[in-house]
Structure formats: structure tokens, C-alpha cells
């Protein structure tokens, strides 16, 4: 792995994104509109938006980045460019980190715009630090990117790649504590929720909603999300094959 190749790959992915303004617009607009819709739905329900807003602020970017990354990597796999890169002196880590950096920067822009809207016009408040909510949103988006990278190895076409979103993400959404608090889940499902990254992503924002100070639980949540992120990137790199049958 070299920084030169990683940086070139990140730059190239961002350049592709820049040539596609509609995707950029969707990346930012979709979570923004969804959060606005949520604020509107919960309007007049006391502090419900303060409860659900931060949780979903982490989840929407995760879903969007998961989809975008899995399709983008799939295109590299099926279009022959990944094979070409791997016949060159290109490290697998260069490829994966390049993508993570490029989509990570997109995620930062996305998180800043969407949380700016939430804390501003949508009137969301949290007891903890608002900037930490932004940090969690970026980490969640990066987690979406990393999961998308590794899962795309299982897909052989776009139809499959898109269906991995409901397959991998929706069960996590059901079990992460938004619908029923995790502690009240049936025992087996409660155990399962411990091995799903979204549980920690959502719990981290909950901690920020409720506590004015940074709690140990919050730090553990963040550490676990970063752990899943790193593991998914390593898994993504190991699915890249220089030699295929």
C-alpha cells in the first residue's frame, strides 16, 4: 500500500462523483428531505423529534452510502477496471481505503448539511454536544461505505447489489432499538442485536440525546462502530482477487 496510490484512487472516485451532479444532489437531498419529513410528522409531539431525530440522522446516511458504495464497487468488478488495477502495482488496501476516503469526504458534506438543517430549521435539540452527533453521522456513513464495499463481493449484478440493502440493513433497523427498546426484545433477538453494528450506532446518538456529558457507554459505542468499520474494510480488501477462475 502506498499513500500515492490511495490518494490517486480517492481523487479518481471523487472526480467520477463530480461528473455526476445528480448523484451528489441525491446523496445530500435524500437524507435531508427524509429528516425534514420526520420533523414534520413528529411536529407537536413534544420532544419526539429530539428522540428519533438523532437516531435516524445516523441511519439514513448509512443506508444511502451502503447503496452507493456497493453499486460503485460492483461497477468496478463487472466493468473490468478492478481486474485491470489488480494487474498493476496496486495494493488491495489502496483500493479499499481510496474508496473509504472518497465516500467518507462525501459523507462529511452530507452529515454537515443534514445535521445543520436538523439543528437549525427543523429545531432538533440534544443534551450532549451537537458536533458529536455530526461525528457519529459521519462514522455511520463510513460504516455504510465499508459494509457496501465488502457486501458487493457477494453480488454479481446490480439487481442483487440493490437487494442486499434490505437484506443486510433492514434487519438491523428492526433490531437496533428504534422500534422496540433492545432490552425489551425477546431474549434471542436481544443477543443478536449485540452483534449488529447499527445497534451501537443508534445507541451512541441516544446517549447524546439524553446525557449532557460524554458517557462511557457512548465511548464504547463509538469504539465498537469504528471496530466494525475497520473489520468491514479488511473484509472488503480480502474479497478482492487478483486471480479468478
Amino acid at each position: 500500500m502506498t499513500w500515492r496510490r490511495t490518494r490517486a484512487t480517492a481523487g479518481r472516485v471523487l472526480r467520477q462523483l463530480r461528473h455526476d451532479p445528480r448523484t451528489i444532489a441525491l446523496l445530500v437531498a435524500v437524507p435531508a428531505v427524509l429528516m425534514g419529513l420526520l420533523a414534520w410528522i413528529l411536529h407537536g409531539h413534544d420532544h419526539d423529534f429530539d428522540t428519533f431525530g438523532p437516531q435516524l440522522l445516523g441511519i439514513f446516511p448509512l443506508i444511502v452510502m451502503f447503496l452507493v458504495t456497493s453499486v460503485a464497487t460492483l461497477r468496478e468488478r463487472t466493468g473490468g477496471t478492478l481486474d485491470r488495477l489488480l494487474t498493476m502495482p496496486m495494493g488491495k488496501a489502496d483500493f479499499v481505503l481510496g474508496y473509504a476516503i472518497a465516500f467518507g469526504s462525501a459523507a462529511i458534506v452530507q452529515a454537515l448539511v443534514v445535521s445543520g438543517l436538523c439543528f437549525g430549521p427543523f429545531g432538533m435539540t440534544v443534551r450532549g454536544a451537537a458536533w458529536l452527533v455530526v461525528v457519529v453521522a459521519v462514522l455511520d456513513a463510513l460504516l455504510g461505505t465499508a459494509l457496501g464495499l465488502s457486501v458487493s463481493a457477494l453480488a454479481t449484478n446490480e439487481f442483487q447489489a440493490v437487494q442486499f440493502m434490505p437484506a443486510f440493513i433492514l434487519p438491523q433497523l428492526l433490531l437496533c432499538g428504534i422500534i422496540v427498546p433492545r432490552a425489551e426484545l425477546p431474549t434471542v433477538l436481544h443477543w443478536v442485536s449485540y452483534v449488529l453494528p447499527m445497534s451501537y450506532a443508534v445507541d451512541a446518538t441516544q446517549q447524546l440525546s439524553v446525557h449532557a456529558v460524554v458517557t462511557t457507554e457512548f465511548l464504547v459505542d463509538i469504539a465498537v462502530v469504528v471496530g466494525f468499520l475497520a473489520a468491514a474494510l479488511v473484509l472488503g480488501a480480502t474479497t478482492l482477487r487478483r486471480r479468478t477462475p
Binding site: Q16, D20, G79, G80, T81, R84, T87, P89, R242, R243
Partner: protein, 251 residues
């Protein structure tokens, strides 16, 4: 005297699924030679080429390229490969594509301009690849492989879909490259491209049918053109033209 050996393939066997795509193929390529790999679609040309560049899982046999086993890390900036389907980024411009791959290869800054000139694409440098014609896209893909000034260049049907003028200019580029010491293996299913090569490898059903020269192919089959010579070679039994251990029993 003969030049040093750039590529040595010995008893190569490649299975893809249940089919034997390459069946006991052996040959050598001398440094600086221009060798044509001819044969009908599906005869194993692409699989053989993928094996040479190390992207194909092989069943048995050995391939040594510039003294290293095919696909070893030290070969990654000395062996260039152009796939049949252009593998470049459609949503980037020609220059953006070449600049990116040049950075990956660690090529000198002027390599991009040289490659653009070599494939006659200077006028399209700022166009997005997906807006180009099929032939132009193929040349972007070829330019990418030229960036690293590879010692061995493996080209899978590089002239498919190109007009006669462009084909002529690419073949003269190939000859210029070999004059500079590059070893080229160029596949084609257009038999009349055979005359442009110094040496011909003819494949059919995964086997090496003949290892010959354009003149040798015509004289041994007694035909006037390459297309019918090749058909004659497949249909008839012409033991004199068969090369190496690939000459097995065919019914």
C-alpha cells in the same frame, strides 16, 4: 541466433467450470517479437492471455514471464494487458483515466501525452470516455496499457471494430513497440491480420493447432488467403503444420 525468451509456457492446462479452456499448450515468445494468436471465438485465446498476465487460476503447467512466474508482484509494472472489452472509466475523461492509471503505475508525467499520441487520441483528451465511439474507447484502453512502457504487452483483440486506416496505424504502432524491444502477443479472430505478424499461433478448442509463420501457413495448406488456410487447417489433417505437444488426436 535467437533473442532471449520473454515468455515460456509449458504444458498449460486451464479448466473453467467443466470445460477445458486451455488444453496442454506450450510455446515460447522471444524478446521483441510480434506474435499473433489466432483462432475462432471461444477457442481459449482470452483464457490463455489471462493466464499469461496472471489473472487466471490455472489448473496445471507453468508460465514464466521475464524469469518470474506469471502474475508475480514484480511483473505488475512490466506486463501490460488490454482486455477485449475496454476497461476504463466511462464517466471520466480520457485524460483523467490515463492520469489515474499513470499514477498507479508510477509512470513519468510525460507518459500520458505520449500514450495519447501513440493511439491518436489527442483530440479527444478532454472527452468523457462514454461519449466516445467503440473504437475510440478501445484505444483509450490500449493507451492505458502503454503508460507503463511494459516489456511484455498482451493485447486481446485490440483492432476489433476499427476502420482499416486505424487498424493499419495500430499495427505500425505495434511494430514500433517491438522495434524498441517490447514483446507483443496480439489476438485476433480476423484471419487477414495474420500477415502483419512475424509468427502465428493458431488455437482451436483450447489446443495449439499450429505454431508457424504467415508464409508457412499459406504454403503448408496450399491456400492463397489466411481465412481459407485456417479453415483448411481445421478441417483437414495437416500434420506438417502442427506445432509442439498440442498436436493431439482429433476426430
Amino acid at each position: 541466433m535467437s533473442a532471449a525468451t520473454a515468455v515460456r509456457v509449458e504444458h498449460l492446462v486451464v479448466d473453467r467450470g467443466r470445460t477445458r479452456a486451455v488444453d496442454d499448450v506450450s510455446f515460447e515468445l522471444a524478446e521483441g517479437s510480434l506474435v499473433g494468436l489466432l483462432g475462432p471465438s471461444g477457442c481459449g485465446k482470452t483464457t490463455l492471455m489471462r493466464s499469461l498476465v496472471g489473472t487466471q487460476v490455472v489448473t496445471s503447467g507453468s508460465i514464466v514471464v521475464l524469469g518470474e512466474p506469471a502474475g508475480s508482484p514484480r511483473l505488475r509494472d512490466t506486463v501490460g494487458y488490454v482486455t477485449q472489452v475496454p476497461s476504463v472509466y466511462g464517466d471520466l475523461t480520457v485524460r483523467e483515466n490515463l492520469t489515474y492509471f499513470a499514477t498507479i503505475l508510477g509512470s513519468p508525467p510525460e507518459a500520458v501525452e505520449t500514450a495519447l499520441t501513440d493511439v491518436d487520441l489527442r483530440g479527444h483528451a478532454e472527452s468523457k470516455v462514454k461519449q466516445l465511439s467503440g473504437g475510440e474507447r478501445a484505444r483509450v484502453s490500449l493507451a492505458t496499457a502503454l503508460l507503463g512502457s511494459p516489456s511484455v504487452l498482451v493485447l486481446d483483440e485490440p483492432t476489433v471494430g476499427l476502420d482499416p486506416l486505424l487498424r493499419r496505424s495500430l499495427w505500425s504502432l505495434f511494430h514500433r513497440l517491438t522495434a524498441n524491444g517490447t514483446t507483443l502477443l496480439v489476438s485476433s479472430h480476423v484471419m487477414d491480420e495474420a500477415e502483419r505478424c512475424a509468427r502465428l499461433l493458431l488455437m482451436r478448442d483450447g489446443r495449439m493447432l499450429a505454431d508457424t509463420t504467415p508464409a508457412g501457413l499459406l504454403s503448408s495448406t496450399g491456400r492463397g488467403d489466411f481465412e481459407s488456410a485456417f479453415v483448411a487447417l481445421i478441417e483437414g489433417d495437416m500434420p506438417g503444420t502442427r506445432g509442439g505437444p498440442a498436436a493431439g488426436d482429433r476426430s
